[in-house]
């Protein structure tokens, strides 16, 4: 560790490349915490947005009309507004009317913190796209298959869960992939409401150390790494789910 520190301290002195995150313990620990926060935001919002997408696609086909209207309204609202505006809206707009709890000093403090609001905003934003992505998958499953399932005595929900959705999933994985990659990159918007993710801590580090080009490069490389990891996992999943005779041979 000492060797790494002295190498990068020397790099700063000799070449002017100032990677404080590799030799300054304070910067290193906050950057690492920022990286973990980005991974946490990405993982939770990806999972939540997929759940939202599956449920929304089912609700769109519901025989209960108000549920369909609600789902369509949700999709329209979140697909047609910028995610940064949504983030501000949730944190400052909704945050001002959500319940508060008194802290140890007796102040009423908001129950929901900025990290939770960020995950909610990201999940609902990407979820709206996922609803449409899953709908495309569901509608691509031949109607006869669903009818056969019904003929075998499955209920509407059972046929959706056990027959239609598994097939739809395979069809819409590439589109889902795209949206989730976008979601990982959209986590950077959480910096606007003070969530200490990677962009936020980098901003603070380059303000202190005036090493903007170095930190920008570091950020780009790390985001490429994160997205590559996600895409690799999704491709593996896609291959594992492949059905002989269905879709790509």
């Amino acid at each position: 560790m000492d060797l790494i520190e002295s190498v990068f301290r020397g790099l700063h002195e000799s070449a002017g490349i100032n990677l404080t995150i590799l030799y300054d313990p304070f910067d290193r620990s906050r950057f690492w915490a920022g990286f973990l926060m980005t991974v946490y935001l990405a993982a939770t919002s990806v999972a939540a947005s997929v759940v939202v997408g599956v449920m929304g696609a089912a609700a769109q086909k519901s025989p209960f009309a108000p549920l369909r209207w609600f789902t369509d309204g949700y999709v329209a609202f979140f697909r047609n507004t910028p995610p940064l505006v949504q983030m501000y809206f949730f944190f400052f707009g909704l945050g001002s009317i959500t319940p508060t709890v008194p802290d140890d000093l007796g102040f009423p403090t908001p129950l929901i913190g900025n990290v939770v609001w960020a995950i909610v905003a990201l999940a609902l934003f990407a979820g709206a796209f996922n609803v449409e992505i899953f709908r495309s998958g569901v509608e691509a499953v031949p109607r006869g298959i669903a009818e056969a399932a019904t003929a075998l005595g499955l209920t509407r929900l059972q046929s959706y869960r056990l027959v239609v959705l598994p097939l739809a999933f395979r069809i819409c994985l590439p589109a889902l992939n795209n949206n989730l990659v976008n979601l990982v990159k959209t986590t950077t918007l959480a910096y606007a409401i003070g969530v200490p993710e990677m962009l936020y801590v980098s901003n603070q580090i380059w303000s202190d150390a005036l090493n903007v080009p170095e930190m920008m490069t570091t950020l780009l490389i790390l985001y490429i790494g994160l997205v590559t990891a996600l895409v690799w996992a999704m491709h593996r999943w896609e291959r594992a789910l492949r059905l002989p005779g269905f879709g790509e041979r």
Binding site: F92, F107, P110, G194, Q204
Partner: protein
Amino acid sequence: MTTRPTRRRTIAGAIAACLAFAAPLPASAQQAGDTLGRILREGVLKVGVRADYRPWGFRNPAGEFVGMEIEMAKDVAATLGVRPEFVPVVAANRMQFLAQGQIDLMIATMSDTAERRRVVGIVHPNYYSSGFNVLLPKQVTTSDWNALRGRQLCAIQGAWYNRPATERYGVEILAFTGIAEVETALRQRRCVGWLYDDNLIAVMLASGQWNDFHMPLPSQSDTPWGLAVRLDDLDKPWGRFMSGMVAYWHRSGKLLAWEKEAGIAESAFLRRMHEALKDHIQ
């Protein structure tokens, strides 16, 4: 940042040199050693002040200069028995105004740094000081920074004091891009207080819009302010006279009184200087 003022100074220097050749008897060269005598002879003290830095130096609705630093300048003029003439300066041009002779004294919220001492004559003792502090609700009465350990403070993203506050006192920073977001977050109680420049907190407190808040902690990372004369006046009668004025203000408690008059919360620096210089007999 560093090259442009230098270049501007070089250009200003070139212009000044041209003027020096053109004018047969340049005033500043002739009277360099006797600024004090010239001010007394002319009966006018030209002093550079801020017109945009409430409540240290600003204009009231009638267009008159008012503020703590204006009171200081008026007191200098009164002591000399001359008329003060205020010249508005901003941070970017205040040292040039002084060096070129448009003003003979500069009292303009300037921090005392090594680089600036090479350009203008900064008079000692320092007359004020600023650092970072926390705007806290009145219910929080602690005067110990360590009581804030682990607490969330709102701040502006990229501010230089975010790091020292975290490193020294373990506070958690919730930083936003703009002042409006910080204000909203503070009012929504997303943080205990606002980590900010202590002068600007004092200004906010003076505005009357933050009556439920106060600033009970001692300021950190203090950087003293200095008033300035031309570099070659510093060890001449004019510089020495101004040194005496500042020392007298500290000793008599006038700076504390002016600060209070301007509606600024009492600064620890002024209290400390007053305690050190006050009359030991009375």
